[in-house]
Amino acid sequence: MSVELKEIIKEENIVYRKTPALTGNVMHYCPGCSHGVVHKLIAEVVEEMGVRDKTIGVSPVGCSVLAYNYIDIDWTEAAHGRAPAVATGISRLHPGKFVFTYQGDGDLASIGTAEVMHACNRGENIVIIFVNNAIYGMTGGQMAPTTLVGQVTSTTPRGRDVKLNGFPMKITELLARLDGTGFVTRQAVHTPPAIRKAKNAIRKAFENTKKDKGTSFIEIVGTCSSGWKMTPVEANRWMVEKMFPEYPLGDIKDI
């Protein structure tokens, strides 16, 4: 028995489509970039919670600097690494809003280390979405604090050397140690099951805002196929093999 495509392709049979909380602007990201999937999950969560008009994002410096073009909510843009400080001000002045930062690993774990530490230590009622692709994507693939030992980047052409460059910084584990954080988790977005889990974590973090449960911190281990010099499919495979042992997925803290 064959069913004509046109009988299937009807409005009432839609089971998955772009959420209206995404603007529909073509994203400037490279093909396969994890930032796109993470944007989509945030947009789906705010849409499903019905809080689009109460959500304020703070975008970083990094590839996701233009995130405000894609998720249809209120946004502001912070100086490099300073998103948690800006989000602090916004959430204190606007209790009842859902305030989140969106930051890369260069932005959050390098130039912005002080801001994220202190915001989490104060237990600011904000959500921090941290996309760790182990590299400075935007500026051409330089080493980040999160770069793996031996990983080749444009500034570590022979691979990251611990003698010279130190160890990959596990900032998520460090932040979990602070009393101000309530929910700290590490997720990924490379397969449908991982994407469902990551979305649930984002939802939980936004729900925590209503309960003022301290800072919610979500690391997403992601790919940067351009910086890693791989195809998106190879990058996902490399992430599973090399990144996950160093950055294991799962909840680190949930109070």
């Binding site: 392709i9 839609i14 073509v26 093909p31 994890s34 796109g36 994407i195």
Partner: protein
């Protein structure tokens, strides 16, 4: 017994040909076109050998949110 049939529609002009949907499809429905879109990308289309079951895996993994998935319950 209930049986589901699916179909997907790709916004081919916005697709970046990243291939993530192709490898995420459990039934081999999708493949990248020989032709390119306006931006020069080999866009994804339903030209693989498999039959779509409307599982939405492709839609979920697409970073650019350009896939719409349809699923119809077809009674035998």
């Amino acid at each position: 017994m209930a049986k589901f049939k699916g179909a997907v529609v790709v916004d081919t002009e916005k697709c970046k040909g990243c291939n993530l949907c192709v490898v995420a499809c459990p039934t081999g429905v999708l493949s990248l076109a020989r032709e390119v879109n306006g931006k020069g990308y080999h866009y994804s289309e339903m030209t693989g050998p498999g039959e779509c079951i409307g599982c939405a895996n492709c839609g979920m993994v697409c970073p650019d949110a350009v896939i719409t998935v349809y699923r119809k319950n077809v009674q035998n």
